[in-house]
């Protein structure tokens, strides 16, 4: 918290570094799925949009696109919020992680900091978040980031996450954001 300001109150270490990176996800249909030996998971995706400029919205402190995309993907996957074992948040900046969690209905407005301080979002907490470090600690290769999140969620639900493994990782939610919430993609990766 003593790193220099980028734009007050955000400091350099609260903003994810942009770097190179690559991720790959192989999608297969049900016909091929039975023939593969690699561990499989099931993917469900939904998206939503909002106005480009956060100050044109009714509230700049809520990503409506995230809320809508998460509700849609939960409906499509027939899951409720308490069946989500872990979340990959889009923490391009520290505040975006908080708004992302609150907008998606997993924390009350303004309360995500308290959850984090109580350890609820840690590996052993009730809702582990960004178990591989998220955009800030793992890195933010822009377009590859959203795919990274899905790949990491796949590792979790197939018990391949090693030291970062969460217990009871039946289904995970990955949230990817474009702009300052102008677009949002919510993906559920589920154990099969």
């Amino acid at each position: 918290m003593s790193s220099p300001f980028i734009a007050e109150p955000l400091r350099r270490l609260e903003v994810s570094g942009i770097g190179d990176g690559a991720a790959a996800v192989i999608l297969v249909g049900e016909r091929l799925a039975g023939k593969l030996k690699s561990p499989l998971s099931q993917l469900q995706v939904a998206s939503a949009t909002d106005r480009l400029n956060p100050f044109d919205r009714e509230s700049p402190l809520r990503f409506q696109s995230v809320g809508l995309a998460v509700s849609l993907v939960l409906r499509d996957a027939r899951l409720s919020r308490n069946e989500i074992g872990f979340i990959e948040l889009y923490d391009a900046t520290s505040i975006m992680a908080a708004l992302c969690l609150e907008s998606s209905g997993f924390a009350d407005p303004g309360k995500s900091g308290e959850l984090a301080a109580r350890g609820e979002l840690d590996l052993g907490g009730s809702l582990p978040c960004n178990t591989f470090g998220g955009l800030k600690a793992r890195g933010h290769p822009l377009g590859a980031t959203a795919l990274y999140q899905i790949a990491e969620a796949h590792l979790q639900v197939t018990d391949q996450a090693g030291r970062n493994q969460v217990d009871s990782a039946g289904a995970g939610l990955a949230i990817a954001i474009g702009g300052v919430g102008a677009t949002a993609f919510a993906s559920i990766v589920k154990r099969v």
């Binding site: 220099p4 300001f5 980028i6 734009a7 007050e8 109150p9 955000l10 106005r51 400029n53 100050f55 044109d56 009714e58």
Partner: protein, 136 residues
């Protein structure tokens, strides 16, 4: 900014004039087909008040390329006297004046010299309301 969009935005960025929805009161800098809040199609031309209060601000230290020369500079969320909220660069501020709630007024300033299209863009910035010359 491209020339056509700059021209389209001129009434707003030069004079703070735009369109207010007659149904829900939402303000639009450029006349839209439908109100972004309530989908109404009825608008009346308005000129926003040029004074208001600073509600929030930030200081940008790694700005986009075309604003490099200005860095560090402040951007504020201004609540104008009629309640409309607009974003704008802050100018002529002393660091001790920079706090939320301070009275500001819109002034006409050069915003940027655009590299690629060579456009010199003008528009509003906000400065603190006349600090020394308070009328007797």
């Amino acid at each position: 900014m491209r020339v056509p969009s700059y021209w389209r935005n001129m009434p707003f960025i030069y004079r703070l004039s735009g369109w207010r929805c007659e149904h829900c009161g939402a303000f639009h800098p450029v006349k839209p087909l439908l109100c972004r809040r309530c989908r109404s199609r009825r608008f009346s031309a308005v000129e926003l008040p040029r004074t208001g209060r600073l509600r929030a601000y930030t200081i940008l230290r790694s700005p986009p390329k075309e604003f490099k020369d200005l860095a560090p500079y402040a951007i504020g969320l201004i609540e104008l006297d009629d309640g409309t909220r607009v974003l704008g660069q802050l100018t002529d501020f002393r660091s001790e004046e920079l706090r939320n709630g301070v009275r500001v007024e819109a002034v006409f300033r050069r915003i940027r010299v655009n590299g690629e299209e060579g456009l010199i863009e003008y528009g509003y910035k906000f400065r603190p309301v006349a600090r020394e010359a308070s009328p007797p």
